[in-house]
């Protein structure tokens, strides 16, 4: 039987991907950030995931405003890194797992989460930057990745509570899968940032830190935080953090925080990473 081992929250700042791809990780601006992620990579290696379900958002790359699915899942065996205007990132192709993804889609829809089903889709920095941060610069990603896209660009994003409930439904779907598989769920985006308007550049470290703390101490209460608080306190684009609730909902009530990173700034954004392990699961 498949089981969820751990959850990862991780920012997906595009400039981090560019710094990796252009060999700038040892530059003064970037070194202290990348040093903090070395331990994250060691922990992911120890967790030995057989598959990752990665919750992320597309940034006007695979989707335009023509279609705006609230929740969508990629069900093919392969997803190419997208050209976002400066050439595709020099990262491995993302391999999916069609059989497992179709199982998830079927189970989720029957659990009343009406996923949009995506056969063909290129994946942007929202998906590939957390893979780079968690797995480093590799010739092939260590395991297949199931992309789960959430609309957080056009208001309203799904509520935190709804995202948490989706995580619960994912956990049920994973536990129904008959093959032995170690699953890690990534929730990506955030932390505080605003990249438009006169309030551009907003960072709120105190708010970010309480968000990281409450993922362990008060996850259900945290998932009830209204959208307006994200936009006000964490900046308009900080609303991406609702995607972390999908990850948290997929875990058990009791988790152990294995590690966290918090760093300001990367470009316009506060960078966060947290690794939560289901208690009692080996």
């Amino acid at each position: 039987m498949a089981k969820i081992i751990a959850g990862v929250g991780c920012s997906h700042v595009p400039a981090i991907g560019a710094a990796i791809d252009l060999g700038k990780t040892q530059d003064d601006y970037w070194k202290s950030l990348f040093d903090k992620f070395k331990r994250s990579q060691e922990i992911l290696a120890e967790l030995k995931p057989d598959i990752v379900i990665e919750v992320y958002n597309d940034h006007g790359t695979a989707f335009s405003l023509q279609y705006i699915p609230t929740f969508a899942m990629g069900v093919q065996d392969e997803f190419q890194p997208a050209d976002e205007g400066w050439g595709p990132r020099r990262v491995p192709v993302v391999k999916g797992n069609s059989e497992f993804a179709w199982h998830l889609v079927e189970s989720l829809i029957l659990s009343e989460f009406d996923m949009t089903i995506i056969n063909e889709m290129e994946v942007d920095h929202g998906l590939t930057v957390p893979l780079s941060l968690m797995f480093g610069q590799v010739d092939a990603w260590p395991c297949p990745v199931i992309p789960l896209c959430v609309n957080v660009v056009t208001y309203p994003a799904p509520t935190g509570h709804r995202c948490f409930a989706l995580g619960r439904a994912i956990r049920k779907a994973v536990e129904e899968y008959p093959k032995d598989m170690r699953v890690v769920v990534f929730g990506t985006g955030g932390m505080s940032h605003q990249i438009h308007g006169e309030r551009c550049g907003l960072i709120n470290s105190a708010w970010d830190k309480q968000f990281l703390d409450r993922l362990t101490s008060d996850p259900i209460g945290l998932s009830g935080v209204p959208h307006k608080q994200y936009v006000t306190e964490a900046g308009a684009e900080g609303i991406e953090l609702v995607m972390w609730h999908v990850m948290r909902g997929a875990l058990n009530d009791d988790v152990d925080e294995l590690y966290r990173v918090y760093h300001v700034p990367a470009s316009n954004t506060a960078v966060g990473n947290i690794i939560l392990k289901n208690r009692g699961v080996n």
């Binding site: 405003l65 208001y155 309203p156 006169e198 309030r199 550049g201 907003l202 006000t232 316009n268 506060a270």
Partner: protein, 138 residues
């Protein structure tokens, strides 16, 4: 949960909501077209003619031609789309951000390296006014 109208008191913030998405649809479609090299070339070679293909309002059209980033956002542009025009036009994101914030790229960079724009005084228009009055008095 708040309807989008209830965000109007947050300063310097333009929620990409039902009004913006409807108003900015063609503007954002134009920006999306900048993902393709052939379109970038055609646009830069003759901007007015290229823009004729999109149903932009006069304000949107002027904002694009002027590279007025804040105005594009105010006219329904979404930052993820508008920034594709930024890249096409040789603007770094920092330069666009500084322009929207009404400052220089150097000052914007220094602000980010110093921990970013503080939340204090920036939660609501009322708080912002109180904060600036306080600074004026000190």
């Amino acid at each position: 949960m708040s309807k989008s109208e209830e965000y109007a008191d947050i300063p310097g913030t333009y929620l990409f909501d039902k009004r913006a998405c409807a108003k900015g649809y063609h503007l954002n479609n134009f920006c999306m077209s900048m993902m393709k090299e052939e379109n970038r070339k055609a646009f830069l070679a003759d901007e007015p003619t290229y823009l004729d293909k999109y149903k932009l309002t006069p304000e949107q059209r002027k904002a694009v031609l002027d590279r007025d980033w804040l105005r594009m956002i105010q006219e329904g542009g979404n930052i993820y789309y508008v920034s594709k025009l930024g890249a096409t036009s040789g603007y770094t994101f920092e330069k666009m951000a500084a322009s929207m914030a009404g400052t220089t790229p150097e000052k914007y960079r220094a602000m980010m390296l110093g921990g970013g724009r503080s939340i204090e005084g920036n939660r609501s228009k009322a708080e912002q006014a109180a904060e600036s009055a306080k600074k004026g008095n000190s």
